[in-house]
């Protein structure tokens, strides 16, 4: 399909006119009609979705005062509560560390198998893609529910949930990065007698390494954010305290937890951008 398109265009250009109109005008009119059709379709989808979610701007506006009241109850944050939050905050970081690291280990082989230019066989390729899409398509919260049921409450099911979801994200990214490498060096090493693993080590790894490191760091940042809510389903971290404070109407505790979450995210962003600059 994709390689037929330019051919068709040049055929039209070669004829000079279609239905008596100059080529320029035909393609302009065609472009207009297409834009109009796309705009109409977008409007229909938007209206249909608004209907589906019961979009009621009026009630939102009417609700603004009570939202403000809720927020005002949160001030000032209960800073004294911060001491109790140190341990769950650290646990949140620990969950993210292992949830990312385990995923790096599992997604490396999967990513290699899912890259069309290095996979040893089409069967591996399709299987790896299927596994990665499943891991990626299901939210870490859903995996957390499953692992809590399987191994019990605590941070460990949280680690497993993050690891599985991250495997899908990292593996797909690895595969795409591998598929985008310059094929020249691969060919050169194969011509010199390299086997598959040697080719990967010497021709592909140097090309993809900076991207891999950057993406691992990015997934770690995202994992910190995810780990702050895993506690909602009993999978460890600061989220457990968040949900209990909300349920008990401890507004000032809730805001203190949000402060800690923001701090966590902020500190990891700084740390990982520092690392990124060092490594790449």
């Amino acid at each position: 399909m994709a390689d037929r398109l330019p051919l068709r265009k040049s055929e039209i250009a070669g004829q000079g006119s279609v239905a008596g109109l100059p080529v320029e005008e035909v393609s302009k009119a065609g472009a207009w009609a297409r834009s109009l059709a796309i705009a109409l379709f977008a409007l229909v989808v938007l209206g249909w979705s608004a209907e589906g979610v019961d979009l009621r701007p009026g009630e939102f506006l009417a609700g603004i005062p009570s939202i403000l009241r809720y927020i005002s109850h949160m001030f000032p944050p209960n800073f004294a509560y911060g001491r109790d939050l140190a341990r769950p905050a650290i646990e949140t970081i620990q969950i993210a560390i292992w949830g990312t690291l385990l995923a790096v280990l599992t997604s490396l082989p999967l990513g290699i198998l899912a890259a069309i230019n290095v996979t040893p066989h089409a069967a591996f390729y399709h299987t790896a893609r299927l596994v990665l899409n499943t891991c990626r398509g299901v939210s870490e919260l859903v995996f957390a529910l499953i692992f809590v049921a399987a191994v019990g409450l605590g941070p460990f099911p949280g680690v497993l949930a993050l690891a599985v979801h991250n495997t899908g994200m990292l593996g797909k990214f690895y595969a795409e990065a591998i598929e985008a490498v310059d094929p020249g060096p691969i060919e050169a090493l194969q011509a010199a007698g390299a086997n598959l693993l040697q080719t990967i080590a010497l021709a592909i790894v140097p090309q993809v390494l900076p991207n891999f490191v950057a993406f691992n760091l990015y997934r770690f940042e995202v994992s910190i954010r995810s780990a702050t809510v895993l506690g909602l389903v009993g999978a460890g971290g600061i989220g457990f305290h968040l949900i209990s404070s909300i349920r008990l109407f401890q507004y000032q505790d809730t805001s203190m937890i949000l402060v800690v979450v923001l701090l966590l995210v902020w500190v990891t962003d700084i740390a990982s951008s520092w690392l990124r600059q060092r490594i790449i």
């Binding site: 310059d182 020249g184 060096p185 060919e187 050169a188 090493l189 194969q190 011509a191 010199a192 007698g193 390299a194 086997n195 693993l197 040697q198 080590a201 010497l202 021709a203 140097p206 090309q207 390494l209």
Partner: protein, 254 residues
């Protein structure tokens, strides 16, 4: 004495109606500098790639050092390590050092594990430095490959091929992306290696000037057929017309 390389009725078709090689017979002796001359699309790259089986021929045999090349991994690897290849786009690993790129030429001799660890022996490093010296680039050994100019990168490509201690070097349009002065310089290195070390070189070119200047023997390729096989000085204008515009009658009729 047997030929170093023999192609017997070699054919390659990329699909119905795209016959890139139409039954090529060719024998190459040790020490030759053979230029394969032909316009773009004649099948020069395909011919070269069929020799080291980067492209699998549709029919016919490639006999290297008396052994027919087969697709089983072990014997193919053994043959490939003796055949160096040089590419139009150099095909260096840009982020690695010049020296590591040359060491990569040893890959066909090394265990998988040692390559995974980027482990190279003192002897291998010495050999790689020696190969760089042969293309006058020893002083650039520790630079990143993409810091070098085009001509220098291609000389690294030559050094990488030399590191294989090859019996045969295949050069696929090695100077097509270089300007004429640099191109002559690079071809000069290939020629010197051929003369002084006796390494057989097969070199694809599409410019007649270079073929006349550097080739001993020239093979003219047109639409997958060999239409000329002789000395460079016998490249007359009628021969060139056949290589560049004609092709044999059978090809005309299609």
């Amino acid at each position: 004495m047997a030929h170093l390389l023999e192609l017997r009725r070699l054919r390659k078709s990329y699909g119905p109606g795209t016959e890139a090689l139409c039954g090529v017979d060719l024998a190459v002796d040790r020490g030759e500098f053979l230029v394969i001359l032909g316009p773009s699309g004649a099948g020069k790259s395909t011919l070269m790639r069929c020799i080291n089986r980067l492209v699998v021929p549709s029919a016919g045999d490639v006999v290297f050092q008396g052994q027919p090349l087969e697709d089983d991994g072990h014997s193919l690897r053994a043959a490939r390590r003796h055949i160096g290849m040089i590419f139009q786009s150099f095909n260096l690993v840009k982020r690695l050092s010049v020296l590591t790129n040359v060491l990569a030429g040893r890959i066909g001799y090394k265990s998988t594990l040692s390559v995974l660890c980027y482990y190279f022996t003192r002897e291998e490093r010495g050999l790689a430095m020696d190969c760089l010296a042969r293309v006058d680039l020893a002083h650039k050994a520790h630079q990143r490959a993409d810091r070098l100019s085009g001509g220098e990168q291609q000389r690294v490509g030559i050094a990488r091929a030399l590191a294989q201690e090859p019996q045969l070097i295949l050069a696929d349009e090695p100077v097509a992306s270089l300007d004429p002065k640099i191109a002559r310089n690079v071809l000069g290195y290939l020629k010197r290696i051929n003369r002084e070390e006796g390494i057989t070189v097969l070199c694809n070119l599409h410019q007649v000037d270079y073929a006349r200047e550097f080739g001993d023997r020239v093979v003219g390729l047109s639409r997958g057929h060999i239409v000329f096989d002789g000395r460079a000085c016998d490249l007359t204008s009628s021969v060139l017309a056949e290589i560049y515009h004609g092709g044999p009658a059978t090809a005309e009729e299609v």
